[in-house]
Amino acid sequence: MLFKVMAKSSFEELVGLLLESNEVIGPRMKTRHPDGKGVHQFLPITAFADMDLDYEKSEYSPKTYFLPFKENLSTYRFQGGDWEQEIKYRIQPRAIVGMRACDINALVKLDKVLLKGDFPSPYYLARRKNTFIIGLDHDPCENGFCASVGSDIVSHGFDLFLTDLGDRYFVAIDSDRGYRVAANVEIRDPTEADNEAYVQTRNRIAKGFKVEVSIRNLPQILDLEFQSPVWKKWGDKCLSCGSCSAVCPTCYCYGVEEKVAMDFSESAKVKRLYSCNLYDFAMVAGGHNFRPSRESRLKYRYYHQHRGFVETYDEPKCVGCNRCGDVCLAGINPPEVITDLEKEAAR
């Protein structure tokens, strides 16, 4: 990793340069909650000032720029007895500015599944490779627990990652193109004082977490607590609405639907992200449902996040953003569910 220092005005200049030839996405305030707190979303910008870089976390995760909720996988046109298939992977080059560490870590996890797994996704690859990522450090968001799951610091998966040192940014560079883009504006090597200021800032951020969740031994605890009453307690509350997976930066499950033109001349395979909390997630041919109860479906979501994924990739799938908890009408959130399990196991 290469470190540089950049004046804040240079960063603004850099975003301006990106805007010249890319679609640029950044955190924008969409609306306000009745309590005055802003609701932010990653949306296209046309000027640096469109962004609110002080945002806590976006309501929806920027994952949707890599894994859209809906995506056309291929289109078929029928003619006579023959047919033609069209697949479009290409996307416009894009830059996302201001992503938080947790959301970049989420992409690194998605990379493991969608790029390095047995079935790499060309659709994801195209979006990932064509997206320039500038991350931005920040003080902990209100109820995030990313530090508990090791996602508050990000060491790769971005092009540039900025830490605010007051009048300047400490810039971590993780790619050749990151270096080339940054070199278009004034950057300099960090001094001893810059390094110190960076470490102090990181320490301040690390001390700012209000929510802590113990995930030590969690995969084993999940195994021990498979029949725990904790699942019924939370499962009874669950509305099986799938909102949690929709906002989660690491959920990638999907279904594919055939959309046929009314005159039957063409058809498209459309992928739609899905959720393991939805009633028919584990429904198979013949109508049997392996997880007919809310309890079993909610449990499964936690098992994938904190057990299944750990077994395959040695780390939890969850990056601790707590978006799922924020969005859940029933108040189901990982810190409380996991704490309940830990208590149950310790009884």
Binding site: Y60, S240, G242, P292
Partner: protein
Amino acid sequence: MKYLGIEPARPKVAVFDFTGCEGCELQLANKEESLAAFLGSIEIVNFREVTSTRRDDYDVAIIDGCISRDDEVERIKEIRSRAKILVAMGSCASFGGVNRMKNAYNLDDANREVYGDKPQATGLTRSIKEVVDVDLEIPGCPVSKEEVERIVQHLVLGVAFTFPVSPVCFDCKHRFITCLFEHGKLCLGSIARSGCNAPCPAGGLGCWGCRGPAEDCNLEQFIAIARERGFSQKEIDERLGFFGGFEGLR
């Protein structure tokens, strides 16, 4: 045109209206870009809104509206006896729809309220399935033309059709909407059947459940959540009763 080697059937379809606003029938005639293909894929033998043909040799009878008079009972039984497949189209046909609200009042009072001193024959509102066997219900107020098109495609190709089972919230989330509960508004989205693409939450109205309940919806928890957020039982009941889809669950 053959699709994947299957020659589509061209079933004879009739559309009949009962008590309702006929909005669903209008939906059938909407979506101009594919209307010709839609009407061409079936043979319409009786449909007051689009043709003057009046034939009784239909395979599929599509029913718009609910049953609210005795003569309608006779008529629907007659149609049922002729149709191979009987489809209840829209919230009125499927659940009674907004007309069902009448059932909560004294019938004579309701009659006077609407018709003044010229009372009309009217009875309790019933959905189609409360009177005759129904093969398929297409919920929605009005029905989604896109969904009807898909159903017709499945019908002509002989492939089973399934409705989405998830709650509206899932559609709503896919439109990046900030939950209306956050702004103090009531919404049935977490218990109502999706497939509509959440136009009402997107428009800031909240869902009124026109497509009825989602599969295995958690009504009890929903009511607890709505109460916790300050909505009265009366408000909640009114919302749940609006289209009649939650009748029997409450």
